[in-house]
Symmetry: C2
């Protein structure tokens, strides 16, 4: 089995004028044959799901149906689970990512989404939905470019991958500081700060491509030489020495295993053989 794509989107999707991000997701899922499921749980607004149904049907998919899990009991509904079993792709809307965690976490919906993604179904999420796809999710935090010790609160997410920590509305809300703080806690993951109307399409081999009108900030703390996060009190600013930063735009890529940027037009190396263990961290 080949894993499906994982597609975090930075929020603020252009749905009408130039809906490139959604168009690419639809194409990935099979275009006119695509059967899509929308999970609007993060949103408190009951018109969110039907709104996406309409937009996706206009983009020409075969089926687009919203399954509005609002409670943990809803997550047992066999008819809605069946729709996920039949889907080519699932789309998680924006809203509040803690609503996704506390409602779907540990239920058959989460298990099924991980199983189906491992078997080839594609999963996209925008804003709160983007934060949720990873194992380590930014639940909330403060604005600003300087990392501070208590600036960010992480929580367990859906767990499709643990190679990245996603932040969204990135430049729009000045979130570099909180993403740096999250990486200072443990530099193993790669920070991906997604601007609005911008997505990363993470392929089964864990290379990604940027799609959309904004930029993606990649924060790689692998070669971090020094961090003061363990020595601070309260909300003091953090010293971090040796962070690598890349700004990527549409067409650029990045290899999450090799930690190497792949500018648009550069020849991509063939995916090398990797042990199963590599995938877990």
């Amino acid at each position: 089995m080949t894993r499906g794509y994982i597609v975090p989107i930075g929020g603020g999707i252009d749905k009408v004028k130039e809906p490139e991000v959604l168009r690419r997701f639809v194409s990935l899922c099979g275009g006119r044959k695509a059967r899509l499921v929308i999970i609007p749980t993060a949103s408190g607004d009951r018109s969110t799901g039907p709104g996406y149904e309409e937009i996706l049907l206009e983009l020409g998919v075969k089926r687009a149906v919203s399954v509005p899990f609002e409670s943990r009991t809803d997550c047992q509904r066999e008819d809605w689970l069946e729709l996920i079993r039949e889907a080519d792709g699932v789309f998680l809307t924006g809203g509040n990512q803690l609503r996704l965690g506390t409602t779907l976490g540990g239920t058959p919906v989460s298990t099924l989404l991980r199983e189906r993604n491992a078997d080839g179904m594609h999963i996209a999420g925008t804003s709160a939905g983007a934060a949720f796809v990873s194992e380590h999710m930014i639940a909330y935090g403060d604005e600003g470019a300087t990392p501070r010790r208590r600036m960010v609160t992480l929580s367990p997410g859906l767990g499709l991958t643990n190679r990245i920590i996603v932040d969204q509305h990135f430049r729009q809300r000045d979130r570099l500081g909180r993403l740096l703080t999250a990486l200072a806690y443990n530099p193993f993951a790669i920070g991906t700060g997604l601007d609005e109307d911008t997505a990363i399409f993470i392929a089964p081999d864990d290379t990604l491509e940027v799609v959309g009108s904004g930029g993606v900030t990649i924060v790689d703390a692998h070669d971090l030489e020094f961090s003061s996060v363990d020595a601070l009190k309260a909300n003091e600013p953090v010293t971090l020495i040796g962070i690598r930063l890349h700004i990527l735009v549409a067409g650029d890529g990045y290899d999450l295993h090799a930690r190497r940027a792949l500018p648009a037009g550069a020849t991509r190396p063939a995916a090398s053989a990797r042990s199963a263990r590599d995938g877990t961290r």
Copy 2:
């Protein structure tokens, strides 16, 4: 290959009078044949490593050597990595768990510890060391029994397992509230609140046994019916309905897959066959 044991300890180990927890760990690692490595990175005190060397040698092990990784550059030291490759068990001392994350995270030390544990080496950690063993680590939080929305800060840990979230000095520091908050974010994990001088020995089949003089509080949020954590502001108290709680003491067990307590003396069911996927969540 059979995974090694994972042994989180709640801090405050009795090292002299009745060192049952350390004795059991030494016995697990081979007793007189055991080659142990101590990682004192969490501690700011340079006498911590040598202190544990002395205690473990008195308990009769063949080798007990401290490898004091203080910087990320230290984590490249081939001679120290070689000692971990030869070890039957590794012991992570107490101190500050963020020092473990920010120093060892994403380095060859973390990778090697996960690989060796997967291959059968046992890993114990006390206090900060206990928090660090899991994928989701409590970095810090507030005291008190009532969960509040911003009461706890999670960060990525070493990642030997993601089935549990560990808290330590549990009753001594009144930490039920922050453990409940962590589970409210995403109820998939099982909360294990470890009292001082008390350990859980997690076997390769993910059943655990309690060892030591105190108690272990198991918090199971799998059947959570309602949580308000997504609807709150600032640090308001959280409504949680449907939490299951167990208090276990020495000799009692718990099956992390079946989510079932196994009181001392009760016959344990044979470990059932499980798919590889089960182990990941």
